[in-house]
Symmetry: C2
Subunit: 153 residues, 2 copies
């Protein structure tokens, strides 16, 4: 896959699987909405502060983020770290209409926070081959990227 | 979700996401075909010996297995361990027509092996609630279970 094809896969996915280490050091997976992307490597995810994976990231920031198309069996797994944002800037940026169903107190809701996943490197899988994406390739590809919401209407 | 509803989700999935720890201890995810199940907790997966996740499991057997329905946004994540089987018994049991496309030397192909995932406990996610599945519940539910292939025709 080319980086552009991987980019299309990411931007069309809307959901992703986030990998983290639970309190006992076991790998664990949670399915999350992921529509805010900065190029290939940066991803913002709104989530409940009280959820197990947020509590896990506050102790260990190692993470992976896997985007796949469940029809065509192609996927990409990024390895990196997560920052948990509680500050107004990030929470306001990705707040969208309807989020009050999950966070009744609005942007300031203490149970609302934003995960920022930053990829270090990646690996893609498709019928025609498997390959690595290096830190250098990600850095180069994402040089001028800004966070954009790719949610479909 | 009831254990029966989770069982239906697993048996209708055909693919799952397996979580493992890479050589640097980072969480990583790979999408796999998973149609052989023993109740809720036991799962057999045919795979390439040379693939990164198999090499990872030979060093660290901690794993998770996540089944989800990408249409209905329901999922279950089992936490457990993986045994990598190279013996004829397991490799012959789950071999199926067409596998020679992946393993040209047949059942004895050295690049063919079988992952046995054994769940210790689990956690399910659905629109109407999140909940835990204890080791005891899994043990009780799976008491009389045998490995069966749930692949759709």
């Amino acid at each position: 896959m080319t980086l552009n094809e991987i980019d299309n896969l990411v931007k069309n996915s809307e959901v992703a699987s986030i990998g983290f280490l639970d309190k006992d050091g076991n790998p664990s997976i949670r399915r999350v909405f992921s529509t805010w992307h900065k190029g290939l490597g940066g991803h913002l995810i709104s989530t409940n502060t009280s959820s197990l994976h947020v509590q896990a990231f506050l102790k260990n920031n190692k993470a992976c983020l896997y985007f796949d198309n469940c029809q065509t069996f192609q996927g990409v797994c990024f390895t990196g770290t997560v920052i948990v944002h509680f500050d107004h800037e990030y929470k306001a940026m990705i707040w969208s209409a309807g989020d009050e169903n999950y966070y009744p107190n609005g942007v300031a809701d203490e149970d609302y926070c934003v995960l920022e996943f930053q990829a270090d490197h990646g690996r893609y899988y498709r019928y025609d081959g498997i390959g690595d994406i290096s830190s250098k390739e990600l850095e180069e590809y994402d040089k001028k990227a800004e966070f954009v919401n790719y949610k479909k209407k």
